[in-house]
């Protein structure tokens, strides 16, 4: 990796070690296992992110503080989760009031999530899995939809692989999330739609739908998957990710294990064509289970 690639990451790691010694141990361990390809992707992403920050008159230091505030939230939510076995938020209205309709929280939360994309090991492994799935299906994708686009990383990846032949739509319920996606996606092929997916009735069905880390944010994941079922073509594929045991200020639906997720998928009328599971901490399975470490589930679903 070159100097520029290491320097931005080094700066982030150095600042985290100054401000949060405990968290820096995890980050240092995470980054040690990565190769040159990771740092290249991380750098491309950070470059786009740096432009976004600059346009908003903000600095990387600001973003690091946002990230550490998000980590503080996650830590507190984790303590509550281990005490009670439940997430603290129970309804969408509660999360709406606490997070989505709370600009000061949304601000640091969105920036924290953006930075976490390349600091958390499992996010990168999931991105590589997504890349593999898109490569396998690219020839059959002419109409692509992403629900809850967030940082825009996945749809950018899909465009890079599938190319200009496809139509790309992105639906998000959050204005601030959609604005960030617009700034992070350096491509004018994407049609952005600010709407609740339940209120979305497009003319054409989609060959491929991506919905990353959304199911845990809703009260009824089966209804959401059933809605996506109506948007998918008969031979289309739905790619989803969702975590188990992942306390956060905006998580509502608790999946305790991969079987909980599979149950919801089957109930909504889907088969699982392929799946990939990875713990959020790089450690032996027994230890991950002992510490109730969150596991990210990724699945490629087809209509039954």
């Amino acid at each position: 990796m070159n100097q520029e690639q290491t320097s931005t990451m080094n700066y982030i790691v150095e600042q985290i070690s100054i401000k949060n010694q405990l968290h820096s141990k995890k980050i240092t361990k995470n980054l040690a296992k990565f190769d040159e390809a990771y740092f290249k992707r991380a750098n491309d992403f950070l470059k786009r992110y740096a432009t976004l920050l600059q346009n908003e008159g903000k600095t990387l230091d600001y973003s690091i503080d946002c990230y550490l505030q998000m980590i503080a939230d996650v830590n507190y939510e984790s303590v509550q989760f281990l005490q009670t076995g439940e997430y603290t938020s129970k309804s969408f209205d509660e999360v709406n009031q606490r997070v989505y309709n709370n600009p000061s929280v949304m601000e640091y939360y969105m920036h924290g999530l953006l930075l976490s994309q390349f600091l958390w090991t499992h996010h990168y492994d999931i991105l590589l899995y997504f890349n593999k799935i898109i490569n396998q299906n690219a020839a059959h994708i002419n109409n692509y939809l992403e629900v809850g686009g967030g940082h825009g990383l996945y749809i950018s990846e899909a465009i890079g692989i599938i190319g200009d032949k496809a139509n790309y739509d992105l639906v998000d319920i959050s204005k601030s999330s959609l604005e960030i996606a617009k700034k992070m996606i350096s491509n004018d092929k994407v049609n952005y739609m600010l709407t609740d997916v339940f209120e979305y009735f497009p003319e054409n069905k989609y060959d491929f739908i991506t919905m990353g880390e959304v199911l845990e944010h809703v009260e009824d994941p089966v209804s959401l998957l059933k809605k996506l079922h109506t948007l998918l073509s008969e031979n289309g594929k739905l790619y989803i990710t969702t975590p188990t045991n992942a306390p956060a200020i905006d998580h509502i639906y608790l999946f305790k294990n991969a079987d909980d997720i599979r149950k919801v998928i089957h109930e909504a009328g889907f088969n699982i064509e392929n799946e990939f599971c990875i713990y959020s901490e790089d450690m032996p399975v027994e230890k991950a289970e002992k510490y109730k470490v969150s596991m990210m589930y990724a699945g490629v679903l087809t209509k039954k």
């Binding site: 405990l22 141990k25 503080a72 830590n75 281990l82 510490y291």
Partner: protein, 79 residues
């Protein structure tokens, strides 16, 4: 509760959660001195300390301790 007694109990909790029988904590011990004390195990230590001492920490407190001495002081202030 005596400060030394709190430190002794905290030491026992660290030994249990981190599976390290040889661990001896002092006021000046930091996360850099204890290999397995990281952000993940910290959460489990906090939960065990809350249960063991019958106290609750705030979100700010969980992030604030720079060493074991500060953690012990925080527990002492709640007893």
């Amino acid at each position: 509760m005596e400060r030394n007694e709190i430190l002794k109990q905290v030491n026992a909790i660290f030994v249990d959660i981190l599976d390290n029988e040889t661990l001896v904590l002092s006021d000046s011990t930091t996360a850099n001195d204890v290999e397995d004390w990281d952000s993940l195990t910290h959460i489990h230590l906090v939960v065990a300390i809350e249960k063991g001492f019958g106290i609750r920490f705030t979100s700010q407190e969980i992030q604030s301790w720079n060493n074991i001495g500060e953690l012990v002081d925080c527990i002492a202030s709640k007893k």
